[in-house]
């Protein structure tokens, strides 16, 4: 007999719902997503869950396991002691069960000015100059950082702040050696970098281990300070190239 474990999975939609307990036989090395699939295949075929790769590549299977925002395909059952509770991300409206409406993120993504190359490719760029952008481009858009960010999660300030995912998106473009656009005023105003109080939860949950706060948000705050808080620097600044 295989060892059995109980998963308490949220079932419901916008109108509410509750956790339902399911018994699952455990295989060695099993992850939470395997368990959810097992439930789907044998007990609840309509249990709604997003997933694609099961390899921590696509960022679809974001959920909260025992209150921790996690990729289900990267969370092993044997790493969890005691009860297992699986719930949808809290910062976004539930559609059904573990699936949430993340469309807000795609709207924000569209508002950021795209890459504006200074010259035609192929570029001569050195590894040291692309390292920073490359780190941010590791992002798999799982939106776990958006989920955990208290500005969005607790204060629902989705009008004022784009959230950490899009701070690194802006940082990636701003730090691209061949980008000619200037997104600093945008970062300060529309994107609302000031709403972030650098408390680093985003950096703690990121499954790609991106240093969101240290390497993107704080440097962006410094760039904003260059413009808005530093008269000395403002004097020496070349006009932005468009």
């Amino acid at each position: 007999m295989a060892e059995m474990r109980t998963l308490h999975v949220f079932r419901g939609d916008q109108s509410g719902g509750e956790e339902v307990a399911y018994e699952v036989p455990v295989e060695s090395g099993m992850v939470v997503l395997d368990a959810v699939h097992q439930i789907q295949a044998t007990q609840a075929p309509d249990l709604a869950v997003r997933w694609n790769c099961k390899a921590a590549r696509c960022g679809s299977c974001s959920a909260e396991v025992n209150g921790h925002p996690r990729l289900m395909c990267k969370t092993r059952l044997d790493a969890i002691e005691g009860e297992i509770h699986v719930r949808p991300m809290k910062a976004f409206p539930v559609i059904r069960d573990l699936v949430t409406d993340v469309s807000w993120n795609y709207e924000k993504a569209k508002q950021i000015e795209p890459f504006a190359p200074k010259e035609p490719a192929p570029f001569t760029m050195y590894q040291r100059d692309v390292e920073r952008s490359q780190q941010f481009r590791k992002c798999i858009e799982c939106f776990l950082c958006q989920d955990v960010c208290h500005v969005l999660r607790e204060h629902s300030a989705k009008e004022q702040y784009f959230g950490p995912r899009f701070m690194i998106k802006i940082a990636e473009l701003e730090m691209h050696p061949m980008d000619g656009a200037d997104r600093v005023p945008f970062t300060s105003h529309q994107a609302g970098v000031g709403m972030c109080n650098i408390t680093k939860c985003c950096q703690e949950v990121c499954p790609e281990h991106i240093h969101l706060t240290d390497d993107a948000i704080i440097p962006l705050k410094e760039r904003v300070a260059d413009r808005e808080w530093d008269p000395i620097r403002a004097l020496f600044r070349k006009p932005a190239v468009r």
Binding site: A79, G82, Y126, R128, R153, I198, D214, K221
Partner: protein, 249 residues
């Protein structure tokens, strides 16, 4: 619905014991609170931090040498205190522990509170951090001068526990200061392309070094705070005669 607390390994596959979530905020509040009370007591109730060739970091540079006698520490400590108060790490620490914004990640806060982050007074002033950095760099020069003097006794070169403490303190303070995010920005972070700048290799390696130190900025912040505290306390106890300095050499 309340979320039951469960232990979750930070990296799946490896079990690791975690502190209960409240340890960190309680610890931070206690340490920062005590240090603040201590600083107030130290600056407001003492007119000197000098013990022979030792000078407490609270009192350096020594403004009495330019004739200011009234609470000499006040004229000095504002700079490092504001430097720390606007430091990106301390900001994280006090927003979390003192303002519960957020107390800890992904745990429900008290709902319905208004929150403006760092967009309004007073927190928007944290953007001035770099200026306190500049001032602190000046203070650092004095502290190094003091540290060297701590090895020069009336009888000539010597080493006392106090000298070692002051040296350790200034080293920790320097690492803390030069692992600052504002400094990281200054030396290279503001560039989009290192190779396009003048002195590309220098800029890049400076930035890289500061970045490396910066990864442990929080550690340096705590260590240097405790070293300032310890150094000052030691000298205070020497002045009050409770302790006697031990000469090692």
């Amino acid at each position: 619905m309340a979320q039951p607390a469960g232990v979750l390994a930070p990296a799946p596959g490896r079990k690791k014991w975690e502190w209960p979530w409240w340890v960190s905020p309680v610890g931070t509040v206690s340490a920062l609170g005590l240090f603040s009370i201590y600083s107030v007591w130290e600056t407001l109730t003492h007119s000197s931090g000098q013990y022979h060739n030792y000078l407490s970091p609270f009192f350096s540079p020594d403004v009495r040498s330019i004739g200011i006698q009234f609470l000499p520490a006040i004229w000095v400590v504002w700079a490092p205190l504001l430097f720390r108060a606007t430091c990106y790490y301390y900001r994280k620490a006090y927003y979390r522990s003192f303002f519960a914004d957020p107390l800890t990640c992904a745990r429900p806060e008290r709902p319905g509170r208004s929150y403006t982050g760092e967009t309004r007074l007073p927190f928007v002033l944290n953007n001035l951090h770099r200026f306190f950095f500049y001032v602190t760099v000046v203070v650092m020069a004095f502290l190094w001068y003091d540290a060297v003097r701590a090895f020069i006794f009336p009888s000539g070169f010597g080493i006392g526990v106090g000298s070692l403490l002051m040296l350790l303190n200034v080293i920790l303070l320097s690492i803390y200061t030069f692992s600052c995010h504002a400094f990281r920005h200054l030396v290279g972070g503001s560039l989009d392309c290192f190779s396009c700048a003048r002195g590309p290799i220098l800029r890049y390696s400076l930035w890289k070094t500061v970045s490396k130190w910066n990864q442990d900025h929080a550690t340096w912040a705590w260590l240097s705070m405790f070293s300032v505290w310890g150094t000052d306390l030691y000298i205070r106890l020497l002045i009050s005669g409770v302790l006697h300095d031990v000469r090692l050499f």
